[in-house]
C-alpha cells in the first residue's frame, strides 16, 4: 500500500552498470593491459628477461627504458615478464582460498552447533596473526618455492571467505524458500548446493575481486623476503627486493613496485565498483 513508489524501478543489476563507472573502467583497462602484456610478452618485451648481456645498473635510457638491474638484465622486459608470474598466481590464490573458505564457511553456517563453534574459533586463531607473518612461517616451513608461497597465502586468506559465507548462509537459512525446499524433501546438501549457493556466489565474487590485490601483495611480499619466486624468475616482489638493496639505483625497485601498485589498485577499483553494484542500497545510486 505504499504510495511513495515514485522512485522505484526494478531493474536487474547487470554488468552494464559497471561500464558506466569511471573507476571500474580504469581498473579493467589496466588489468586488460597487463594481461595483454603477459600473454604477448615474448613479442612485446624488447629483450630476453634472463639475458645478462650488456652493462649492470644502466639508468633508464633510450636503449633500456627502465634501465638494467644488478645482473644486466633489462628491467622493462622483466617487469613485463613479471606479469606472467605475479598475475596468474595471484588469481590462482584467490580461487583456491575463496573455494576453501567458502566450503568451510558453508559447513559452519549450515550445520551450526559444535562444528560452527570449532570453525569460528579456528578463524579467530588465524585472524590473530598478521597475514604476512603467518605466510612467512608456512612458506619457510615448506621451503622457498613459489608453489609453497601460494599454499601459504591460501592458508592465510581462507578465513575471510569463511566468515563471509557463514554470515550469508545464516541469513539465507531463515528465508521461507529454504523451509519450502525442506518441506518438499530436499536434503541439507541439496539445499546448500541448489538453493544457497546462488545466493552466496555474488558476494563471494566481490570479496575475491577485492582480495586479489591483497593476494598479490602477500605473494610479492613473500618473494621479496626470498620465500616465494626464486631467482632467476622475473617476479615483481623479488625485483622490488633487489631494488631495496640497491636503493641508489632507484629504477631497479621503482618500476616493479609501480607494477604492483597499478595492478593492486586496478583490482581494488573493480572490486569496489562490483560491491557497490551488487549492494541494493548503493546500486540505485549507481543507476541514476
Amino acid at each position: 500500500m505504499s504510495t511513495l513508489k515514485i522512485f522505484k524501478k526494478r531493474k536487474n543489476v547487470n554488468s552494464n552498470s559497471i561500464w558506466r563507472q569511471p573507476l571500474a573502467i580504469v581498473g579493467i583497462s589496466i588489468i586488460v593491459i597487463w594481461f595483454i602484456l603477459a600473454i604477448f610478452a615474448p613479442w612485446i618485451a624488447p629483450y630476453d628477461p634472463y639475458s645478462q648481456a650488456g652493462d649492470k645498473f644502466v639508468p633508464p635510457s633510450a636503449a633500456h627504458w627502465m634501465g638494467t638491474d644488478e645482473l644486466s638484465r633489462d628491467v622493462l622486459s622483466r617487469v613485463i615478464y613479471g606479469a606472467r608470474t605475479s598475475l596468474p598466481y595471484a588469481l590462482l590464490l584467490v580461487v583456491l582460498s575463496a573455494t576453501l573458505g567458502s566450503i568451510i564457511g558453508a559447513i559452519s553456517g549450515y550445520f551450526g552447533g559444535k562444528v560452527d563453534s570449532f570453525i569460528m574459533r579456528l578463524t579467530d586463531v588465524f585472524f590473530a596473526f598478521p597475514g604476512i607473518i603467518l605466510a612467512m612461517a608456512v612458506a619457510a616451513a615448506l621451503g622457498p618455492q613459489i608453489r609453497n608461497a601460494v599454499i601459504a597465502v591460501t592458508i592465510v586468506a581462507w578465513p575471510i571467505y569463511a566468515r563471509l559465507v557463514r554470515g550469508l548462509i545464516l541469513n539465507a537459512k531463515q528465508n521461507d524458500y529454504v523451509t519450502a525446499s525442506s518441506l518438499l524433501g530436499s536434503s541439507s546438501i541439496r539445499t546448500l548446493i541448489v538453493d544457497l549457493r546462488p545466493n552466496i556466489s555474488g558476494p563471494v565474487f566481490v570479496l575475491a575481486a577485492l582480495e586479489v590485490g591483497n593476494a598479490l601483495l602477500l605473494l610479492s611480499g613473500l618473494s621479496f623476503l626470498g620465500l616465494g619466486a626464486q631467482p632467476p624468475t622475473a617476479e615483481w616482489g623479488s625485483m622490488v627486493s633487489m631494488g631495496a638493496i640497491n636503493f641508489d639505483r632507484w629504477w631497479v625497485g621503482l618500476f616493479p613496485g609501480l607494477a604492483i601498485l597499478t595492478a593492486v589498485l586496478a583490482f581494488n577499483f573493480i572490486g569496489d565498483t562490483l560491491r557497490d553494484a551488487l549492494d541494493p542500497r548503493t546500486a540505485k545510486a549507481l543507476r541514476n
Partner: protein
C-alpha cells in the same frame, strides 16, 4: 470425506531471551479431505505458530500431530520422509518464499526431482502446474522479481502442487497482496481444494475472506482454541464471548450506521497468561469462577465445540444475556 489431519493436545513452546513462551497451549483439531478450515485470531493468538507445528517446522513440546494416520516429525537435516511430503505449506511473504536467484522452473520442479523424476519429464510437468495456476509456460525461464506478489504466490502454489499435497497449510497467503490478487489467489486455492479433494487450513486475520471460503472456523485466543464450528454457526450465532467480540468488531460496508464494537484492554503477554480462562479479564460476562478454572472444551448439540463455562455440553448454544 476422511479425516486427514488430527491434532491432539498440541503445545508449542519456544525460547526468547532465556524465557519459555507458550505460543500454543493445548490444541485439539481435526481436518477432513475436501474441507477448508479457517483458523482465525488476533495478534499473539498463536495461529501461525500452530500452522508451523502442524507442518513440522516447529516441534510440539507436548502432544501429537497426525497426518494421514502417521505422526508428523520435525524437519531435520536429512530428507523429509516421503509420506510427509504430501503435507505442504504456503507462506505469507510472497517475496521470501521464492529464491530470488533461481529460475522459476527449477524451483517448481524441486519436489519432483527429489521424488526421483528426471529433469526433462519434470520440466514438462512444471508447465502443467504453471497452467493450473494460470501462468504462461515462459514463466519457467524467468526470475521471481519479474513477477508481482500475486503471481509469486501462485508460483509458490505451483511448487507445492509438485508434491501432490493432500493437505495445505496456508499461513496468511493473501495478506500481503492487493485486492484483485487476493481474489485470484483465494479462488485458486478454493478450486484446487475441490479438484484434488485436499484439506486446507486457512490461517488469516481477514475475517471476511475466511467467512467466504471456509467450511469450518476455529477461533484462537492466546494459544488456545476457544470455539470451533461451521462458518455459519460462528458468524450467525457465536457462542464464546471472544468470538462474539470478534464478529461484532467487523465493520459492515453497507452504508448503515453500524459501529463495530470494540473490545477494551490488550491481549495479555503470552509469558504471563491470566489464570483460569485466559479471556476472563476482558470478558463482559465473566463469573468469579472464570478466574480460577480453565473451561473444558465441550461439544454442543449442534456439534460445535466451545471452551466456556457458560456453555454446557450437549445443549444448544447459550445466547448469553449480559447479567446486570
Amino acid at each position: 470425506m476422511k479425516e486427514i489431519l488430527n491434532l491432539k493436545d498440541v503445545v508449542v513452546e519456544y525460547e526468547r531471551h532465556g524465557q519459555k513462551i507458550r505460543a500454543v497451549s493445548g490444541v485439539d483439531l481435526t481436518l477432513k479431505s475436501g474441507e477448508i478450515l479457517g483458523l482465525v485470531g488476533e495478534s499473539g493468538c498463536g495461529k501461525s505458530t500452530l500452522g508451523k507445528a502442524i507442518v513440522g517446522i516447529l516441534k510440539p513440546t507436548v502432544g501429537e500431530v497426525t497426518f494421514d494416520g502417521m505422526k508428523v516429525k520435525k524437519l531435520t537435516r536429512g530428507q523429509r520422509p516421503k509420506h510427509l511430503r504430501n503435507l505442504q505449506m504456503i507462506f505469507q511473504d510472497p517475496y521470501g518464499s521464492l529464491n530470488p536467484r533461481r529460475k522459476i522452473g527449477s524451483q517448481i520442479i524441486d519436489g519432483l526431482l527429489v521424488g526421483g523424476m528426471k529433469k526433462a519429464a519434470a520440466m514438462e510437468k512444471a508447465v502443467e502446474f504453471l497452467a493450473r495456476v494460470g501462468l504462461p509456460k515462459d514463466a519457467n525461464d524467468r526470475y521471481p522479481h519479474q513477477f508481482s506478489g500475486g503471481q509469486r504466490q501462485r508460483i509458490a502454489i505451483a511448487r507445492a502442487l509438485a508434491a501432490a499435497p493432500s493437505v495445505i497449510i496456508a499461513d496468511e497467503p493473501i495478506s500481503a497482496l492487493d485486492t484483485s490478487s487476493q481474489a485470484q489467489v483465494s479462488n485458486l486455492l478454493v478450486k484446487l481444494v475441490e479438484e484434488f479433494d485436499m484439506g486446507m487450513v486457512f490461517i488469516s486475520h481477514d475475517l471476511s475472506i475466511v467467512r467466504r471460503i471456509s467450511d469450518r472456523v476455529a477461533v484462537m485466543y492466546l494459544g488456545k482454541i476457544v470455539e470451533i464450528g461451521t462458518t455459519t454457526q460462528i458468524w450467525e450465532n457465536p457462542s464464546h464471548p471472544y468470538t462474539r467480540a470478534l464478529i461484532s468488531a467487523i465493520p459492515h460496508a453497507d452504508g448503515s450506521s453500524f459501529m463495530p464494537s470494540d473490545l477494551p484492554g490488550d491481549v495479555p503477554n503470552p509469558m504471563y497468561p491470566p489464570t483460569g480462562c485466559r479471556f476472563h479479564p476482558r470478558c463482559p460476562v465473566a463469573l468469579p469462577a472464570c478466574a480460577i478454572n480453565e473451561p473444558e472444551f465441550v461439544t454442543l448439540s449442534d456439534s460445535r465445540k466451545v471452551a466456556c463455562v457458560l456453555q454446557k455440553a450437549g445443549t444448544p448454544p447459550n445466547s448469553m444475556i449480559i447479567p446486570g
